[in-house]
């Protein structure tokens, strides 16, 4: 009887042993997992990054409109990088097309929200310029990339009633989406139409010059993907940076200087019509 009972006892012991080991190892795995999670969370929280010194940089953006071919890889990359609403009415960066037809004084302008361009794109998250001028006599035409100007005196920061949007020491205008009340006063105040309302977070949204990338030594997504080098980005504190050279070697202009916002996005190759 004893012998007969023994196997079950051993089996029970083995079973309990197995359960114990499973629980311990699962616990260890879970523990490790949560540690990993915490580590990831900590890195996500250290925004920009633990070793980044924002007093040592002065970021700026350049646009060489003479190079832009209107391929819109920038707009698509921006949306993918930042998870922006993929429709044609919310853009952190977009491209405008200016066309002077023969004999016309004023340019015809269109961009991604244009119904014909939406139709030409065919899907959300994809952007194209349609070929509407193929039968026209075009006198002059060019593309102008647009982006938040991260102004030195940003009107959007001035009007924010809570301070949820602010200017960083390295010259970037950011939004704390956990503090923004969603009044859209900043959307009104921006003369450049660079801000919009995010219906998911119910707060304002705009370009950050990919702050999560630039603080790690990377380029903004739109600059990274531009196939023709129409977008230039860098640190003005570094005289050898692409942006310092761009500003030094060209006669640059800014958009709507009369607003007093003092934009930090510098253009070459734009026209009187560009606002």
């Amino acid at each position: 009887m004893k012998r007969k009972k023994a196997p079950p006892k051993t089996e029970r012991r083995a079973f309990l042993n197995m359960i114990g080991k499973t629980v311990v190892s699962a616990g260890a795995m879970l523990g490790a997992g949560s540690l990993l999670d915490k580590k990831e969370a900590a890195s996500a929280q250290s925004f920009p990054t633990a070793d980044y010194d924002w007093t040592k940089h002065r970021w700026a953006f350049g646009v060489d409109a003479t190079r832009c071919i209107g391929c819109l890889r920038c707009a698509e990359a921006c949306k993918a990088e930042n998870g922006t609403n993929p429709d044609a009415h919310h853009f952190r960066t977009w491209v405008e097309r200016y066309v002077y037809l023969e004999g016309e004084e004023r340019a015809l302008v269109d961009s991604q929200a244009d119904p014909q361009n939406i139709a030409a794109a065919g899907a959300e998250g994809v952007y194209r310029f349609d070929n509407r001028y193929k039968d026209e006599k075009v006198d002059k035409a060019f593309f102008v990339p647009k982006i938040c100007n991260h102004c030195t005196h940003p009107a959007c920061v001035q009007v924010c009633p809570t301070g949820a949007t602010y200017k960083t020491k390295d010259g970037v205008v950011l939004i704390d989406e956990k503090y923004c009340i969603g009044c859209e006063y900043c959307v009104q105040a921006c003369p450049y139409g660079a801000r919009f309302f995010n219906t998911e977070t119910q707060t304002s949204e705009k370009c950050t010059w990919c702050y999560h990338r630039i603080t790690k030594g990377l380029q903004p997504a739109c600059v990274e993907v531009c196939p023709v080098g129409a977008r230039i980005f860098g640190d003005r504190n570094d005289p050898a940076s692409p942006i310092s050279e761009f500003i030094r070697n060209n006669r640059v202009s800014v958009l709507k200087p009369e607003t007093g916002n003092a934009p930090n996005c510098f253009y070459i190759g734009i026209d009187k019509e560009v606002q």
Binding site: V109, V159, P161, G163, C180, C190, G193
Partner: protein, 407 residues
């Protein structure tokens, strides 16, 4: 949750982000309501500060009207906010460079001032009601008098002193609040239609005008409801003031418009297309034509034609209703109109409020009607009329032939 986006149709070129209208009909309702508060308070202060006896019959009612509207002023803003639960962030950490940072403080201060003024205005009556009432009523009126039943001559003089001081503070506070609302729009350099130094003053005058108009209508309606004669001198006084302030308000807006057109800065071609096209009916026809010039004409006829009786009352009410419509159109034409002109100055957007939803037409109508509901409740609790407990009888001051409209 899937968010339904209202994409605004447009002509010309607008920035892609502009195709979603930032500020809705709620932001047009908001200055309209603060304007009515400031205007109603003006009527009350004409008696309480300046001692104008003509407005005495309306002084307390005007105060309740201001309070009823003021309590609902934050509602359209809260309905607009993406995160209304964070609204107090603006008060906890006000960002003082924002024209909107002080709104919470302004509004809270002004509500307190109105409540305090109502406390003193109605204290004597409430003490009497507390004495006569039983049960819950006794408790309620006891509470609103803070269980102080001293109505001696000394106490009443003390009350009046406080009333005067509060009203004196209230006049700049009410007008400051509304002028400040004008500044919220006028200080923005991003919008051609808003960025004007005259905006706060224009808002202020239209506010006073709307308050006078509202009280004409409410006085006549409440008189009919209560089956008491309409106080003709009071209506005449209100009509006269309405006429004066209305003319000045229209003049200011005319100057503002002339400035935009005459200066003819960049984008003037678009503005001309705008005012002669989508803005023609709401601006020239409704706001100026039917809403301002017509009532100026009617009121001038009533005042200088020495018209009395029923004609005066009907004429004044019609003018007042037109003015109320005109002032709302002014708010609409500023708030919505300003956003219709694209920041590119190359395109025009259009806006139609949705019928249902948080920022819809129906919600706006509810927000506009809610203060009237509160006013009804307040007038039941604190009857503001001198003749409330008496038989309706002509006042000694009223030397006109009383048209007993309610007969």
């Amino acid at each position: 949750m899937e968010h339904v986006l209202n994409i605004s149709p447009y002509i010309g070129y607008v920035f892609p982000n502009e195709t979603v209208f930032p500020w809705s009909v709620m932001i047009a309702v908001y200055p309209y309501m603060t304007g009515l508060v400031a205007g109603a308070f003006s009527v009350s202060s004409f008696y309480h500060v300046f001692g104008m006896q003509t407005y005495k019959p309306l002084a307390r009612f005007a105060l309740l009207t201001a309070l009823s509207f003021m309590i609902f002023v934050p509602l359209p803003l809260l309905l607009h906010l993406g995160h209304p639960e964070r609204a107090f962030n603006a008060m906890i950490t006000p960002h003082w460079t924002s024209a909107f940072a002080a709104f919470g403080y302004f509004a809270a201060f002004y509500v307190c001032l109105l409540v305090l003024e109502c406390f003193f205005v109605f204290r004597e009556d409430n003490v009497a009601r507390a004495k006569n009432a039983t049960g819950l009523g006794k408790l309620f009126y006891g509470a609103v008098t803070l269980w102080s039943d001293d109505v001696s001559q000394k106490a009443r003089i003390y009350d009046h002193k406080w009333l005067f001081v509060l009203a004196v503070i209230g006049v700049p506070a009410a007008h400051g609040l509304h002028g400040y609302v004008g500044f919220v729009f006028g200080s923005l350099k991003s919008r051609e239609w808003w960025g004007s130094d005259l905006m706060p003053v224009i808002f202020l005058f239209s506010a006073v005008v709307s308050g006078f108009a509202l009280l004409i209508v409410l006085h006549v309606v409440t008189s009919l409801w209560r089956k008491v004669p309409v106080n003709i001198p009071c209506v005449r006084g209100l009509a006269g003031s309405l006429w004066g302030f209305l003319m000045f308000g229209v003049l200011l807006e005319g100057v503002e418009y002339a400035n935009v057109i005459y200066k003819a800065r960049e984008g003037i071609e678009l503005i001309l297309v705008f005012v002669s096209g989508p803005l023609f009916v709401p601006y020239f026809v409704l706001q100026f034509g039917i809403g301002a010039f017509l009532p100026i004409g009617i009121l001038a006829f009533l005042i200088f034609g020495k018209v009395g009786g029923r004609t005066l009352v009907v004429g004044a009410v019609v003018s007042a209703l037109l003015v109320l419509m005109s002032v709302f159109m002014m708010r609409w034409n500023v708030v919505i109109g300003g956003q219709m002109i694209s920041k590119t100055l190359k395109g025009l957007l259009s806006y139609t409020p949705p019928l249902l939803g948080r920022e819809s037409l129906l919600a706006a109508i509810f927000v506009m009607l809610a203060p009237f509901g509160l006013l009804w409740v307040l007038t039941r609790l604190f009857p503001p009329w001198d003749d409330a407990d008496k038989q309706a009888m002509p006042r000694a001051a009223d030397n006109e032939k009383m048209p007993l409209l309610a007969e």
